[in-house]
């Protein structure tokens, strides 16, 4: 019995050290900082979709995607393929002729949070994105910046 108690104590101490190490030494990386402003539930971009080409700022990899606005919600086709993010509410604010939009999307079955902040000026779209993955042992963030224009045809494989 005493031996079992000692084994349990060693296991507990080891697990506790591991958990403390993770908690103390793992630094969180904040999501994309979206400028403050008079944000309200989105609707101005409903019915529009954009083909975008972006760059992963860390690796330099080129990423192509399509983003869709519909019924006050937003979806990235690539995000949907990777993690079934579904449709997420988006917010907008208008400054002059430029529509600013932001959305925070969360993967339901993996610890991914993607924050979008972009502007639509006529048909031109600029957007910054952070894809942050908060695993129990580290936080990894992918920063993407992209530009785009109207999609010729809305992606047919996406379902709400």
């Amino acid at each position: 019995m005493a031996q079992l108690f000692q084994i349990a104590a060693i296991a507990l101490a080891t697990a506790g050290t591991g958990a403390t190490t993770m908690a103390v030494m793992n630094e969180d990386i904040p999501d994309l900082a979206v400028p403050e402003g008079d944000w309200s539930a989105g609707g101005e971009l409903d019915g529009r979709s954009f083909e975008i080409i972006g760059t992963d700022l860390g690796s330099g990899a080129v990423l192509e995607d399509e983003i869709i606005f519909r019924d006050g919600t937003f979806q990235s086709v690539d995000c949907q393929e990777y993690c079934d993010f579904g449709w997420s509410a988006y917010e907008t604010k208008t400054v002059g002729d430029v529509i600013h939009f932001t959305a925070r999307t969360i993967c339901p079955d993996a610890p991914h949070t993607v924050v979008w902040y972009g502007t639509v000026d006529g048909d031109a779209l600029d957007v910054d994105v952070t894809w942050t993955t908060r695993r129990w042992y580290w936080t990894n963030q992918i920063e993407i910046t992209a530009t785009g224009g109207p999609a010729l045809m809305e992606h047919s494989g996406v379902s709400g």
């Binding site: 031996q3 080891t14 993770m22 030494m25 990423l63 990777y82 993996a110 042992y137």
Partner: protein, 218 residues
């Protein structure tokens, strides 16, 4: 048998060889990382996560086994993922060392020998068989095999320092590697769990902490 002490020229030669090996290993690690082109992207993050979890389990398991090279997995993960993975490697190394110690301390020595034989780990089984009839202090001497008598005496007096040094000594795979040393420490019965835990937590920290805080890239 008293080990021969090398002269200044021999010492310089050894240092030069050590530096050359370290430089070659660093260059090799960079070459492998570049060849792998390991980038975490949205489309491969899950695969990377699975690979890390698989590598972690393999690392803890293999490192705890005597004469089985496991440290290389940790070094490879540090080389591949850099400072962000250092806390995980540190925690896994402590877990692995304590696993080996716990097995050595609490598993009956006969059962341990049979288990290692069953796993076809003949050298590890032989090590345990060699240790079985010895006293606790004599088992510790096994860890310090080949050391001068004065070092043996100091090792017995400052056994936790000796344990920390043995775990960190390059080439300790000859006497069983980190797992073998910790298993033998457990078998000896002269290392208390609490002090051993603290020793291990300190002893295995230099490399991950250097990677984490000094930004060293392997």
């Amino acid at each position: 048998m008293t080990p021969t002490v090398p002269g200044p020229a021999g010492l310089l030669l050894r240092i030069a060889i050590l530096v050359a090996v370290v430089l070659l290993a660093t260059w090799g690690a960079h070459a492998i990382r570049d060849a792998l082109d390991l980038q975490i992207r949205p489309d491969n993050e899950r695969q990377v996560h699975r690979a890390i979890m698989f590598g972690l389990v393999a690392y803890v398991g293999l490192l705890a086994l005597p004469f089985v090279p496991g440290a290389e997995i940790g070094i490879a993960m540090l080389a591949a993922f850099g400072p962000p993975i250092a806390p995980l490697i540190y925690a896994a190394t402590v877990a692995s060392m304590m696993l080996a110690y716990t097995i050595g301390r609490f598993l009956p020595i006969g059962a341990l020998e049979r288990l290692l034989s069953f796993l076809r780990m003949r050298r590890a089984a032989a090590l345990v068989a060699r240790a079985a009839p010895l006293s606790g202090e004599a088992r510790l001497e096994l860890l310090l095999h080949g050391q001068p008598k004065r070092a043996l005496s100091l090792g017995l007096r400052f056994r936790y320092v000796a344990l920390a040094m043995a775990v960190n000594t390059p080439g300790n795979s000859i006497i069983g590697g980190g797992g073998g040393i910790m298993m033998m420490a457990g078998l000896s019965g002269i290392f208390s769990p609490v002090a051993t835990f603290l020793t291990v937590a300190l002893a295995v920290s230099p490399v991950p902490l250097a990677v984490m805080f000094l930004g060293l890239r392997i």
